[in-house]
Amino acid sequence: MKYLLLICTDEGFDAPPGELDPTAWVEETDRAGIRLLGDRLRPSGDVTTVRVRDGAVLLTDGPFAETKEEMGGFDLIECADLDEAIEVAARHPMARFGMIEVRPLWG
């Protein structure tokens, strides 16, 4: 079962330097064959939202949902069930300072 982890920061969060480094988490989940793919994402200032209406391509500067939280990264993981996915997500350093959305893939 595949789950997408959306790694979100909380506005004004305060973490000691080094505490946010996900390197150890990435290495561990890669080694265990859990993490399939993932990366950091550029901040919302670099985001463009695309819509097509009446054949015209409409662009908006910024993400489609304006929230205080910023999606800072994503990871695609393969787990037996939700409990396992929750356990993997809870070990991500960002879980302690921001939040992680666990989305099951449709397929």
Partner: protein, 424 residues
Amino acid sequence: MSPATTARAAVADAWQGEWSRIVGALIRHTGDWDLAEECAQDAFTRALERWPLDGVPARPGAWLMTTARNRAVDRLRRATVEAAKLRELAAAPLPSLAAGEVDVQDDRLRLIFTCCHPALSDEARVALTLRTVAGLGTGEIARAFLVSERTMGQRLFRAKSKIRHARIPFRVPPREELPARLDGVLRVLYLLFNEGYAATAGPVPVRADLTGEAIRLARLLAGLLPDEPEVGGLLALLLLQNARSAARTDAAGDFVPLADQDRSRWDAARIAEGVAVLDRALGRRRPGAYQVQAAVAACHATAPGPEETDWRQIALLYGELARWAPGPVVELNRAVAVAMAEGPAAGLALLAPLTAAGTLDGYHLLPATRADLLRRLGRHREAALAYREALTLATSDTDRRYLAARLETATQSAADGGRARPAG
């Protein structure tokens, strides 16, 4: 009794005892919650048809389990589900039905923990527990929660859909996660009980169906997890609170406060059972919030009258409870106990910081408590103001009637210029 009556009683009995076992076993083998419920339902319907004619089988639970399983095999065969699943189900050993057998891997326990999974909302957990563990119909649950059957149906559908699509596992959590997950289960049962007991909305003060189901489920859980003292604590708490229910309202359906209740109408057998369950739990020397709350309830339930109640002990217990489950409502209750032990002025002093903190804004019991303490101090004008504030916040009809009566008395006493003696 006629064979038909005997058969109907046997089916009703089996429903109480076997429903969750059958649903749990079918979910474990098929992973399909709807199929499991429908096949269990079919088995009971079939029992209602057959048992009056054929007689009640020697082992009703086994008969129902076999019937439900055969029905599931049929349904899956017709749906031409992959052969492997079908073979597994047809060959699956039927769960042992020996009476009193306790197994941490009991299907009913799996069912309870899955229904109360923390990834589901409280509302969804309560509804799902009533549907699949207690075996109540969607319509019954909807009526108990004063929502339309359609709304409740959607709530159940969404919960089951999440279990399936997010793949919430059907299992009892591993030992290291058990305490935290058990807390979630106990909270669902307590929510259920309170929904029936406190009646947050509507004209009926106690909905016995919900309190009864909560107690039945707590009993089941206590039987399945005999080594978890907090389960015993919860069961004791529910029994002790429920024992007072007949005296909580008068003939007109109005709320009667604890101090004015006719204690001869309390259920002595329930109290004795609750105290015994609590003693066993406390004997394990792993206290917790439910055991402490049950101890408070036991102080009330075993006192011959309000004056003989050990309020000092209750105030201490609320202090202890604040360690396990800190919160403004616990502080409010502690203030009430202190007021009884040391006088209304001492209680009022504890209420002041609570009012100032504002965390209980909108909760009618804060001004109602302040009003009562002011009344006992003979400060009727202030008491009337506080009763009026409480009245604007109360939501249940019985609370409102009680507060309106108190407001009238306080207003009258204030108009008498405080000549009336403090009520004590």
